[in-house]
């Protein structure tokens, strides 16, 4: 057993801390004040490329197995992978979770490409992210106006037409979609087949029929764009069906989608821990400045927040550790995701109480964190959905 953050990870965290303080947090506050996402041509994104961020985790085709078989093991990425990614993600979110999501890179489309994509697809869609000459984004679109956490209910349709597919439907809240080189879109070939009918496509920028981009207005996390768009008779070549038809013959489309949720739940949960930690640090500093720390009721509530954040972090770490050892982590991942956002909200909400009228002014970091953090209990499956997932395992709650 070892529950400490090792030196190598610590070094990377202190690197993030440096740009966090000088860049990430001020840019997040700017975006919040201006009420718009950080523009794609902002010099900050170029700076990130220079320090080696905004790239794909794909190890490149030389690291692929010779038979070209898609496999997760073909991407050794970095030692410690999930766990060290968690530490990094938490630290980024500590400085600004919205800015962290706006970072260039293949984004949430990358895990399905890595696990399901053919070598040709990785080369075409992840290759440009290996040594990007300019900031590039990938995007991921599952959510629809009528299908949030209930991913089985997606209605975007894919119909085969010769060597193409025709896609029609509406997608919502896709991060970075309007600036992306491509969007990984989930669609169904036959809604009556349920999850079996799901397919993932890469839709490249400027494909005719892809359009109506609307950057939604949000309560918080304004630094990145949550974008809705439509697909109207959008023609996508066969080569852009992720994994090819053979892949879906082998395995149901839904499992791919659920696996990507599964891999990201502890990651999203730990981002909430980062936001909560920022709120705790700011609250402690404010309370000290205003002579509130001598009050036992203030001290006790701060203690409760720290304890909750520590437990939440451990829940996230455990889920990631299981994933790193290829052990089932469905209950553990959901536990982390169900827990961390509510603890982090409590942290920010307590911060608002300590601030009092200072918080009500609407220009304090804690007030922003209070708005930002609420999203964390909603994205990647709400707290309620996590409980349903856990209950399926703990008490065999039937699917209905």
């Amino acid at each position: 057993m070892n529950l400490s953050i090792d030196e190598a990870t610590q070094k990377r965290l202190s690197g993030i801390r440096a740009i966090g303080e000088s860049q990430i947090r001020p840019i997040g506050l700017d975006a919040d004040r201006l009420g718009r996402p950080t523009p794609p041509d902002h010099e900050f994104f170029g700076l990130l490329l220079k320090v080696g961020l905004g790239r794909s985790r794909w190890a490149g085709e030389n690291a692929e197995p010779s038979d070209g078989e898609a496999s997760k093991e073909s991407t050794p990425a970095r030692p410690g992978s999930s766990r060290s990614m968690l530490c990094i993600a938490e630290e980024m979110s500590y400085w600004d979770r919205g800015v962290a999501v706006s970072f260039p890179g293949p984004g949430l489309g990358e895990p399905p490409l890595l696990s399901m994509g053919t070598l040709d697809q990785k080369r075409r869609f992840l290759g440009p992210f290996l040594q990007p000459e300019r900031p590039r984004w990938g995007s991921f679109a599952m959510t629809e106006p009528g299908a949030g956490s209930d991913v089985a209910a997606i209605a975007t349709s894919a119909r085969k037409d010769g060597d193409h597919w025709i896609l029609n439907g509406d997608k919502s809240f896709a991060a970075n979609a309007s600036r992306a080189d491509w969007i990984l879109v989930w669609a169904t070939i036959d809604a009556s087949q349920g999850r079996e009918g799901h397919r993932a496509f890469i839709i490249e920028r400027d494909t005719p029929g892809l359009g109506d981009f609307v950057i939604e207005r949000k309560m918080g996390l304004k630094a990145y764009e949550s974008t809705s768009f439509t697909l109207r008779d959008c023609r996508v070549p066969d080569e852009n069906l992720i994994g090819g038809e053979e892949h879906y013959a082998r395995r149901a489309g839904f499992k791919g989608a659920m696996r990507s949720f599964n891999a990201t739940r502890p990651l999203v949960a730990v981002m909430a821990v980062g936001i909560g930690r920022a709120a705790l640090d700011e609250s402690l500093a404010f309370a000290r400045e205003h002579d509130l720390l001598g009050l036992p009721r203030v001290r006790d509530r701060l203690e409760r927040v720290r304890r909750g954040l520590r437990a939440a972090r451990l829940l996230c770490w455990r889920a990631a550790w299981l994933a790193d050892h290829s052990q089932p982590n469905i209950v553990e991942a959901s536990m982390a995701k169900a827990t961390a956002p509510t603890v982090a909200l409590e942290a920010a909400s307590l911060g608002m109480e300590l601030l009092g009228e200072v918080g009500a002014r609407g220009d304090h970091l804690i007030e922003k964190l209070f708005r930002d953090v609420k999203a964390m209990d909603i994205v990647e499956g709400t707290g309620q959905v996590q409980r349903i997932v856990m209950a399926r395992h703990l008490v065999q709650l039937p699917r209905e």
Partner: protein, 364 residues
């Protein structure tokens, strides 16, 4: 790198403790409570396994294992019967001041006779801030009363406060009381009349370490009790049918059950984190205190809901869940209870100037 694997040795210890609890503790749950004690056979079996001397130093003939091993064993035994777990451990949390008391002969002289005599009991009593008892040390002799101790026999009494600890083994008078929880360990009012002090130390940081370890001891027991309460009521809810389906499939209960499981896991993770800090020789007093707070709070969420899930049956003594609730409540009342622990953890926190660390971080 972050690693939750306990390793083969601890896995084996855990499996042994689990088996012992299933064979010897759980079946006699009500009988132990009624008899206010454990049969000599079970005591002998316990002594033979070597659990009593788990943390006893190797140089004194013990197993010299650490906080994690103790936490694993206590969780398993307490999932069986926490009162029995207390009754079986001759030194219990009194061990920790003894270890701090002296690096020499005194520790062995005080503790060894108890390890050699199955059924004997050492007790730790808190006499500092937040105490409900009053023991007065007047130039080497102690007088006063402790309203409740979970024992009907005391061979060695260790009294701890913020400044240090002392040990007493004569002049101890016990008056039987009914007890609320943990009755299998006995229940008495303890009085001292001019009891002579056998050994003592004054060292504030050693006293704080001993208190921290004592809190962790109870927290580990609470994890065991609430785990069992959560598991028993989960299984009941799967088996029990009402309104046409297992009650666990009504979402109000399904969600409650997932939250109870989460409460148990969260507390256990904090417990292991605190144990790991101790073994890694990192500062751990705050982590121990906050773990005890969490264990108490969560046990008061989990065990009453264990009763709730069983409904009327839960209130009856035919099922063990009402006992889990009483036992958990009692386990949260030691060493000044939740408020004292919260105060210590909170005072460490408000002393931090700068980012608040949640975990042990490697120094660069």
């Amino acid at each position: 790198m972050i690693d939750f694997a306990p390793g083969d040795e601890l896995e084996l210890i855990r499996a042994t403790a689990r088996e012992f609890a299933a064979d010897h503790l759980r079946p006699g749950l009500r009988q132990h409570e009624k008899a206010r004690g454990i049969s000599p056979d079970v005591q002998r079996a316990f002594a033979e396994i070597g659990f009593a001397s788990l943390e006893w130093p190797e140089e004194l003939g013990g197993n010299g294992l650490g906080a994690l091993a103790r936490a694993f064993v206590l969780e398993e035994l307490s999932a069986g019967d926490p009162g029995a777990a207390l009754a079986l451990d001759p030194l219990g949390p009194a061990l920790y001041p003894l270890l701090e008391l002296s690096k020499s002969d005194v520790t062995g002289e005080l503790g060894q006779p108890l390890l050699d005599t199955p059924g004997s009991r050492a007790l730790l009593v808190w006499n500092g801030e937040g105490r409900r008892s009053k023991l007065v040390n007047d130039r080497g002799v102690v007088s006063g009363t402790v309203p409740w101790v979970p024992a009907d026999r005391v061979d060695l009494l260790v009294v701890l406060d913020e400044d240090g600890a002392f040990a007493v083994s004569e002049g101890i008078d016990l008056k039987s009381v009914r007890g609320s929880g943990l009755r299998a360990a006995g229940a008495s009012e303890l009085s001292l009349i001019d009891a002579p002090i056998r050994a003592s130390f004054s060292d504030r940081s050693a006293a704080a370490r001993a208190l921290a370890r004592a809190r962790l001891y109870k927290a580990a027991m609470l994890v065991g009790v609430m785990r069992e309460a959560a598991e028993f009521s989960r299984q009941y809810a799967v088996d029990r049918v009402a309104f046409g389906k297992p009650i666990a499939h009504h979402q109000a209960l399904a969600f409650l059950i997932t939250d109870m499981a989460t409460a148990v896991d969260s507390t256990r993770l904090l417990l292991h984190d605190a144990c790991w800090r101790i073994e890694a020789r990192e500062p751990a007093d705050e982590a121990c205190a906050t773990t005890y707070v969490e264990a108490i709070e969560q046990s008061m969420f989990v065990t009453p809901n264990g009763v709730q899930i069983l409904g009327g049956h839960g209130f009856m003594q035919d099922y063990p869940v009402e006992k889990f609730m009483r036992d958990a409540r009692a386990l949260g009342l030691f060493w000044g209870g939740i408020d004292s622990a919260r105060e210590d953890a909170g005072n460490e926190l408000i002393g931090i100037d700068g980012p608040v660390p949640l975990s042990v971080e490697a120094q660069l």
